[in-house]
Each structure stands twice: as C-alpha cells, then as structure tokens.
Symmetry: C2
Subunit: 316 residues, 2 copies
C-alpha cells in the first residue's frame, strides 16, 4: 500500500482513499505511526463536534439534519458514528447508514461508522486518528455521533471541541442529566422532539439544574438550550448558530487548543495502555495472566497480589 | 468500618451488609484487598449467569421472571445490573429497580445496580469482587444483567459461567448476531416476546447461523434456543432448565473451573491496568501526559513517540 498516494488522494477528497485510511487506523495497523507522521502537516483545521444522548433521543436524525445545514452553508463535513465495540450495535449502524443515505452522493460529506472491537482504549486511540484523516481530507467540521451509551462513548465525547448533549421530552433525562454530572460536559444542550408534550418541562429542568451549578472562576461559557424537531429540520439553524457561538467564544478566550490537547492526551494514554496490555498478555510461564488466574482460583493468591505480579513483570 | 463484622453479617444474609460491601468494591476502596482475603474462604459456590442483548429485548423483565422461578425452586439469588459508567443510564436503572420491586421484600434475593464511573477496567475489576460478596452471602445463582450495549458489558458477559443472549422478533438481531460473532459467546439463546410476529423467523435465522458454524474439535455444547414471553412468565421454566442443562454439561466435561478462571484473569488484568494508568497519570514534569500532549499538538512529537515515552516512564 502506497501511503503517500493514499494521503494525496484523501487530501483531494477521494472518498475511497479516506475510507481506506480510516480502516487502517481502525484495524490498528502497524503503519498507523507512519500515517500519523504523513498526515501531521495537513491537519489542525477541522472542528470536532460530539453528539451524545440516550438511545431514542434522535441523535442520527439530528446529525443528518446538521449535515444538511452545514452543507447548505458550503462547509465540508465528516461524520464518525462511533460504535462501542458492541456485537449488538450493527443494527443501529445500518439504520444510521440508511438515514444518512441522502448525503451518500454529496462529495462534500464523508460518513463513516467506527467499530473497534475488543482492544482496550480502541476508540480513544482510533478516533483521534480517524479525525486527523478527515481533517487532512479538508473537513471544516467533523460530527462525532456516539450510538447508545457507555463508558467508551463518554470518553469519545470528551474528545470534541464542542459537545452537544441531546435530550428528549418524557425520558426523565433532564433530571438524570443533572444528577449524573453531564451538565459539566455539555457545551450545547438540544431538546429534540420539541413538538412533543413535556418539552417545556425538560427545558425548565435543565435550566434549573444549570442555575444550581457552581460558577467557575473567570469567564465561563453558559450552555444554551436549543429546541429542535430534527425530523423536520426545525431549530437546526439555531443549533448551527449555537455551535458557531461556542466556537467563537472558545477562540475569544484563547481556548482553541484545549480540544486538540484533550484529544492528544487521550490518544497517547490509550496507545500507551494498549502497549502495556499487550505486554501483560505476552507474559509467559508462571507469571502469565492465565497461570496467575489459576492460582487465584485455587486460593493460593489474592487477585491484588496477582495484579502486583503483572505490574512488576511489565515494569521489567 | 469493621470488615470482619460486615462479612459475618453478609454471610448471615443481612442485605445492608451485602450492600455496604458491594459499595466498597464499587468505590475502589483501598480496603478491597483486605476484603478479598476475608471473603476468600466463603466463596466458590455461586453460579454466574450473564444476560445480555440489545435495548428493548426485555432483559430486565426476563431477569425478574428468572428470579421468581429460581426462588420458587428454593434457590438464593443475586442480581447485578451492570451500568457501563454512563451518565445516561440512570433512567434505565431506575426502571429496573421498579420492575424488580416485587422481589424487594424477599430475603432470599439481593438486587444491586453496579455503576463504576470513569475508572478504566472499573467494571471488569469490580464485578468479580461484587460477585464474591454475593457468593459469600450464600447466593446459589447470580444473574448479571447488562443494560444497553457496549464494550464494558461484553467484557462483563465474558465473566459468566453461562451466558444468555436475548433477542426479540423484528429487531434484525438474528442476522446481526450471526454477523457479529455473538454465536460464540452465547451458551443459551432466548427469543423473548415469542408471541409476536416474526418469532419463528428469528429462531430459524439463529438455527441457520448456528448450523454454519465451524465445529469445535472435541465435545461441544450446542446452545439451545428458548422461546419466552417473560412478561407473562411463559417459557421461563424452559429457560431455567436450559441453564441447569448447561451447568450439568459443564460439570460432566470437567469445565466448571473455566468461568472462575476467566473472572480471575479479567480481574487481575483490570487491577494491573488501573494501577499502570494511575502511574501514567501521576507522571509529572516534561514526561507528564499533559506536557507530552502539548508537544503532540505543537507538531514536535508524534502520538506514538509520546506514548513510547509514557511506557518507558512507567517501566522506570
């Protein structure tokens, strides 16, 4: 595989080249390292917008409506639909692809489902790398949509420059949001399906919860609550305006580097931990995880002592 | 906190003591190590049954119906509802608790939602520890129900002695199951909501997919497909029989130790990786993750070289 050629094609916007490069990082190819170096000069332009929320709030529909609005504005858009390594999420992703079908022939849109099965920190490592591919391919905005819920997705959302948390009326999400601390991660709230009963109550709950938050010292961004009916496109222009307002605020306050730094930090930590996990799994003989596990089951060793042995072994 | 007293109370079946001990492992208490040693003599009896499947297939209803059936049979039952560290899953868990309400006053049932927020391998480490608490408390069977889907849950399901994969008609799950390789992890399939249209098709798809599987060399267990309508209790006795048949087969083939070994292995690896992650995050100065991330953003270092530095630092 000619990496320079693929990167050149990706920069020219050839979808197949973009797809092959993302597959390469997703599969954990040994050439990821070379790719990172090759892409480096062409990155740093794209803004990353994360969208998350419970199943059923309308993340895919909102993502699709956002793509339409951003394209109408002449911006190049990438979409990464993140699958938390689940054997069950195939269905949802097929659904996404169907709903995204209207953008399939638009050369200004790249859509990709990410599935990194089984390897630790897989998403945390692969997502920033896939974002660099889309960045180098000329995307102005990359939407990272997390399907479902889970630890992995929360980590992925933390990689965004702007994080959008979606809620829908009648799901008890407002209260849960307040309890679970998602107020702190959201830069923009969307109350989707805002034509349904209970939308006002959801907005009120959110605003109340925000009013109780402790203020940061110094200037702080106050997350707006945008009402949308993504299925009809209603409110999507307001959402685009809110995203742009957050970006402008970030720039004004000298914080544009924070997102890239968070992504870099998550990526290097994930790569390092994957490497350490590989070393643990490669341990052989009496110090191997299998043999230590047998001794734990036999009652000869407690699990913490066994873990100490693993740590000592990888530390050499 | 008097750990010996709490363990004695837990062994006597005092729910509050069981709950406090599980909180202790869930919170990553430094006394987990002492607890593991204290519990060790009293464990090794409980069978662990994992239940998983897409949202909407009826996992909680099935779990609740199983509890009823196992209790009617005189068995003590534990339930761990596993929450993959999500800020959004609170709602679903509240739902579980409501549905489990009918068992709330039964002293032979312990029900617990597990939520381990943010720490790597949290579930993989804490779940086996919570299982030991329930084991020592005299549970004959512990049902581990994973809410939603995600990498963490798949890891948790791999901890079970018997893994139940639930499907429901009309969700396209049969095909997805075949594609995603869940045939290999399931010991028992449940087609729930079997009174709905499409149940026969789902059963046929599953059986077809299984017929295409490569046979293991040596004796292999052939996962039965059980039809249930968990909401009315229909088929639940068949499910209990299938679980017992799998247990009996495992015993006959000398494989009873495999589940405990898998749990021990996952646990010690998770504890070791959490320790290594802690060491990475504690690195200070020029070799700290934050400083390395800044150099990556500045283009002075590629992320793989930065990760190498982290690995070298923790290896001392």
């Amino acid at each position: 595989m000619d990496l320079d050629r693929l990167v050149a094609d990706a920069r020219a916007g050839v979808p197949r080249a973009v797809g092959r490069l993302i597959s390469l990082v997703e599969d954990g190819s040994p050439r990821r390292r070379e790719l990172a170096a090759t892409l480096a000069p062409y990155t740093g332009h794209a803004r990353v917008v994360g969208l998350t929320g419970s199943p059923g709030v309308g993340k895919s529909t909102t993502t699709s409506a956002l793509v339409t609005a951003l394209r109408a504005d002449g911006r190049r858009v990438g979409v990464l639909a993140v699958d938390p390594s689940s054997p069950f999420s195939g269905g949802a992703l097929l659904g996404d692809r169907v709903r995204m079908g209207e953008h399939a022939t638009d050369p200004g849109v790249f859509i990709r489902s990410m599935a990194t099965r089984g390897h630790l920190g897989g998403l945390a490592a692969a997502t920033p790398q896939a974002l660099r591919v889309l960045d180098a391919a000329g995307c102005d905005v990359v939407l990272v949509e997390t399907v479902g819920v889970g630890q992995s997705e929360v980590e992925v959302v933390a990689l965004a420059d702007t994080t959008v948390v979606l809620l829908a009326p009648g799901m008890g999400d407002g209260v849960q949001a307040a309890k679970a601390g998602i107020l702190e991660v959201a830069d923009v709230f969307v109350v989707n399906k805002a034509d349904r009963d209970g939308a006002d109550a959801t907005v009120r709950e959110l605003q109340h919860a925000m009013s109780l938050q402790r203020r940061e010292t110094g200037p702080s961004w106050r997350p707006p609550v945008v009402r949308t009916v993504a299925a009809s496109g209603q409110g999507i222009d307001d959402l685009v305006a809110a995203l742009d307002a957050h970006h402008a605020w970030t720039a004004e306050h000298g914080r544009l580097a924070e997102g890239p730094r968070r992504r870099a930090r998550a990526e290097i930590e994930a790569i390092a931990l994957a490497e350490l996990r590989g070393r643990i799994r490669a341990l052989a003989g009496a110090g191997s995880p299998d043999r230590l596990a047998e001794r734990v089951v036999a009652g000869e060793l407690d699990p913490f002592a066994a873990a100490d042995e693993l740590v000592a072994s990888v530390r050499g």
